[in-house]
């Protein structure tokens, strides 16, 4: 994961890009992505409607079409190791508009799932897991929000686990079943000590 845009690293990346892609290809990757995402990723014809629709694209180096291409070609390690994988907002604009009726969003979700099995995941995503485990929310309520809600005539807390904490054990049970919290804790510890 390139962190600096310094010359040697950028050059290294360029050189990598120039290799024939056949080298890294894992043909069954396409099938595994399709099984997980339940969408016909192999039918992408690279029109670019997805990237053109994507709110993330103009603000980052994230290109959903490129991930679709990697799905088609079976470029597993290139897809799963690209830090851009984590920049999709899951807004589903691409899915709304894809003329081939593919759900690129679900392809991204499938790839993220697969990346996670290799411990490839940014720490902020893991912190979200921790937050959900403790509060039921990815972004828990805070005092600023509470004040805003009051001003709008709403209850200080929304009618979710914030209002009904008795449902928290159920949520934890689901997360535990998938060893999410356990893995999140382990990886955070490895990365942050």
């Amino acid at each position: 994961m390139a962190k600096s845009k310094g010359y040697p690293e950028a050059l290294e990346k360029k050189l990598h890009d120039q290799r024939y892609y056949r080298e890294d290809s894992t043909p069954d990757f396409t099938k595994r992505v399709e099984d997980k995402s339940r969408t016909i990723a192999h039918m992408c014809f690279q029109c670019g409607t997805c990237t053109g629709s994507c709110p993330s694209a103009p603000r980052s180096t994230y290109r959903i079409r490129k991930f679709m291409r990697r799905a088609v070609l079976g470029l597993e390690s290139e897809a799963l190791n690209d830090p851009d994988l984590w920049l999709c907002t899951t807004c589903y604009s691409c899915t709304d508009r894809c003329p081939r009726d593919i759900a690129p969003t679900d392809v991204i979700m499938a790839m993220r799932n697969m990346a996670f099995t290799h411990d490839i995941i940014p720490v902020n995503f893991l912190k979200t897991v921790t937050a959900i485990y403790s509060s039921g929310h990815g972004v828990p309520n805070n005092d600023v929000n509470r004040a805003a809600r009051e001003r709008l005539g709403l209850t200080r807390d929304p009618p979710t686990t914030h209002m009904y904490p008795e449902y928290m054990p159920g949520i934890r049970k689901i997360l535990d079943h998938y060893h999410l919290k356990e893995n999140a804790d382990r990886i955070i510890k490895e990365r942050e000590g």
Binding site: T49, A57, R97, P99, D101
Partner: protein
């Protein structure tokens, strides 16, 4: 799969065997009946072979590897030899080839065969071929039966060698069972009416009608709108040569109007069709036009009267409506012509908006007396030998693809609107302006594949085939007519496949059009300037684009014309899932349909540009003229016959027949059913119904079908 099937087969066999005993007498009786009607309908003696004397030849085709690649041909051949009645079995790489046909021909003579079974492709493809081969071997061509072991077997069971081999054995066993009972049949010939009909007078229909007329055939040309020319008359220039559309079309329109052999019926529709090839009885609805042609006026005794196109009426009419020909960008009156060059130059009243104030009647005056505000739809009946459908296309309602903002943003227009705006005779005199403020645009974006190549269920999955090329043409027209204005073409692929088309693409790029490879994701409007932001992915640069332009032109998909569905049903023509009319064979019979005597021309069959449209129209005209010039056609002898001794004269079949082919007649003092053979389509409705079993369906007779079913269920024992 096969194991499972075998099991059920044997199980059924046991129960079935008992049933058969019960049914046996019935079957025997039916067999005895067979010769009776046959002898009546045909002259030649010895038309039916006694089943016990049947000698059937079986010919198995490899179709290269199409069939042989998926099944065990020697095993099938060995099996066929064991079947009852089979006297000869052979196989060949391509049965339909000349050597293959010779194998059949020779085997018939050498082995004194009485029937032929070819196990090969679909009868839709080669039944005629093998019938001819059977005939050349000296047998009646209807002594032939086809077993489909390709489309319904090797192609669909490509990976199940054992299963497809078993299925081929079944198919051959069934075909042999029928072949043993086939009779000689003799097609009837009927005379062909020396007249044709063309429905739709776009460039396709006009060309077809002109060709038919030139071949000396009286041709009725039916057009639902008030004037001829279709979409082509709305175009400015035409790719790739850039001739002016009007200049090349108008002379043809005039020829159509003038031709002695063409009876042009505009503002008319086909209301009903009866009959069959050679003898179609067509009812035409002449919609109430409100205006008389000079001929119609004369018929009413108004000598020298009728519409002369002066337009005095239009000037006084108080009702204003959008002009559809100008895609709503120009007004017209309730009494109107689309544009000054219309053929025929006769005004039309739009009775949906006419308020019957009568001002036009006064303006027209007492000499011409051309206007009749009380006119009603009229019907006329004509008889034609053949018919061509040329109903063309409509523009897909592109507002359904909401992301491009058509009908929400004023400066988003369709290509057809652009044609009118860039056309010298159009609403802006040939200089496109922004609908929002009448300003000249400086940057124009073209959105290709708008609604085409779309699998979302909203747009159309097919390529509309001419939008790439006309968008290149539009880019050229901008560069030519509007210096300083840049055309941006957003595309996925440029499909410039025709003669001189790629060269045209080269030329337009050279002229300065900018090409961006990316499908437009969405369009937003700046509410203040009414400029448009076009969002796409420049896929070649791998970078999103937000391009601000003054105007967007959507190359909208096309779809079959609105009335196509109703019209095709009248003529019994099928269509594809998209609604385009279905040709008899996409490669080998692109102008024909599965209804004998009905042909297709132009875009109604599928998207085509003008060169392809005209080529298909000439093909259709030629095909439609063949039966007319031959003067007679053979009808398949698959009609019903009445076995009079069994007919109780109940008459129930008479009402069931969908083609009114049956009637009751008095014979030897009692009522019996009679078939008008030329009207009967052999559908079998009556034959399946008759409670007394008195109806014999030629070639699909009850004993023949029962033998097939038995052969399948009893596995060859009969």
């Amino acid at each position: 799969m096969m194991v499972e099937k075998k099991k059920t087969t044997t199980k059924k066999t046991e129960t079935k065997k008992q049933d058969t005993k019960k049914e046996a007498p019935v079957k025997q009786e039916a067999k005895k009946q067979a010769p009776a009607p046959a002898a009546k309908t045909v002259a030649a003696p010895g038309v039916t072979t006694k089943p016990e004397d049947a000698r059937i030849g079986v010919f198995i085709c490899h179709c290269g590897t199409n069939i042989a690649g998926s099944m065990d041909i020697p095993a099938v051949q060995e099996y066929a030899k064991t079947l009852p009645h089979v006297a000869y079995v052979d196989n060949y790489k391509y049965m339909c080839s000349m050597p293959g046909q010779t194998v059949i021909n020779k085997a018939i003579k050498d082995n004194k065969l009485t029937g032929v079974v070819v196990a090969a492709c679909s009868p839709r493809l080669h039944e005629p071929t093998f019938r001819t081969a059977t005939k050349e071997g000296g047998l009646n061509p209807f002594r032939f039966e086809m077993a489909n072991i390709r489309e319904q077997n090797s192609w669909v069971h490509m990976h199940d060698r054992e299963g497809s081999t078993d299925k081929a054995k079944d198919a051959i066993r069934i075909a042999v069972a029928k072949a043993a009972l086939l009779q000689d049949l003799f097609p009837k010939t009927v005379p062909v009416e020396k007249a044709a009909m063309v429905v739709g007078a776009g460039v396709a229909g006009m060309q077809a009608a002109l060709d038919l007329a030139a071949a000396g055939i009286k041709t009725y040309l039916i057009e639902s709108t008030p004037s001829i020319g279709g979409r082509m008359s709305q175009l400015d220039k035409t790719f790739p040569t850039l001739d002016c559309s009007q200049c090349i079309l108008t002379p043809k329109m005039v020829d159509v109007g003038r031709s002695q052999n063409i009876e042009l019926l505009t503002y008319s529709e086909v209301d009903n069709v009866e009959g069959y090839i050679g003898n179609f009885d067509v009812t035409i609805r002449k919609k109430a036009r409100g205006v008389l042609t000079p001929t119609e006026a004369e018929a009413r005794g108004i000598v020298g009267g009728g519409c002369n196109g002066c337009g005095d009426c239009e000037a006084v009419c108080p009702v204003i409506k959008p002009n559809v020909f100008e895609v709503g960008m120009k007004p017209r009156k309730a009494i109107y012509i689309n544009h000054p060059q219309v053929v025929p130059l006769i005004y039309t009243i739009d009775f949906d908006s006419c308020i019957k104030c009568g001002l036009c009647v006064t303006a027209c005056g007492p000499e011409k007396k051309a206007i009749d505000l009380e006119s009603k739809d009229e019907f006329m009946k004509v008889k034609v030998g053949t018919a061509i459908l040329a109903t063309g296309y409509d523009i897909f309602p592109i507002e359904k693809k909401e992301e491009w903002g058509y009908k929400r943003f004023e400066n988003v227009i369709t290509s057809l609107e652009f044609e009118r705006l860039i056309c010298a005779s159009g609403p802006t005199g040939g200089y496109p302006v922004r609908p929002s403020d009448g300003e000249k645009p400086k940057r124009v974006a073209f959105v290709l594949c708008a609604g085409s190549r779309d699998n979302t269920g909203i747009g159309k999955p097919y390529c509309s085939r001419f939008c790439c090329m006309y968008s290149l043409k539009h880019a050229h027209q901008i560069v030519e007519k509007m210096p300083g204005c840049i055309p941006y073409i957003f595309y996925m692929d440029i499909r410039s496949f025709g003669k001189a088309y790629e060269e045209f693409y080269y030329r337009i790029q050279d002229e300065g059009a900018k090409f961006i490879r990316g499908r437009v994701a969405n369009i937003l409007e700046d509410p203040k300037t009414k400029n448009l932001h076009v969002y796409a992915d420049d896929t070649l640069l791998d970078r999103p684009v937000d391009m601000e332009v003054d105007m967007v032109v959507l190359a909208a998909a096309i779809q079959p014309a609105a009335d196509t569905e109703r019209t095709r049903r009248l003529f019994g023509v099928s269509c594809t899932g998209d609604g385009w009319l279905q040709e008899a064979h996409p490669k080998l019979n692109p102008c024909g349909t599965t209804t004998a005597g009905v042909f297709l021309a132009g875009v109604c069959q599928g998207p085509k540009d003008i060169p392809d449209t005209v080529a298909s129209a000439e093909g259709a005209a030629s095909a439609a003229s063949i039966p007319i010039h031959k003067g007679e056609v053979e009808l398949e002898p698959y009609f019903a016959t009445c076995i009079e001794e069994r007919c109780a004269g109940c008459g129930m079949c008479v009402n069931l027949c969908p083609y009114t082919a049956l009637s009751l007649v008095e014979k030897e003092g009692r009522q019996v059913m009679q078939v008008t053979e030329a009207k009967c389509k052999g559908c079998g409705t009556c034959g399946g119904f008759c409670p007394g079993g008195a109806i014999w369906m030629n070639h699909f007779a009850t004993p023949q079908i029962v033998a097939q079913i038995d052969a399948f269920l009893l596995g060859g024992e009969q």
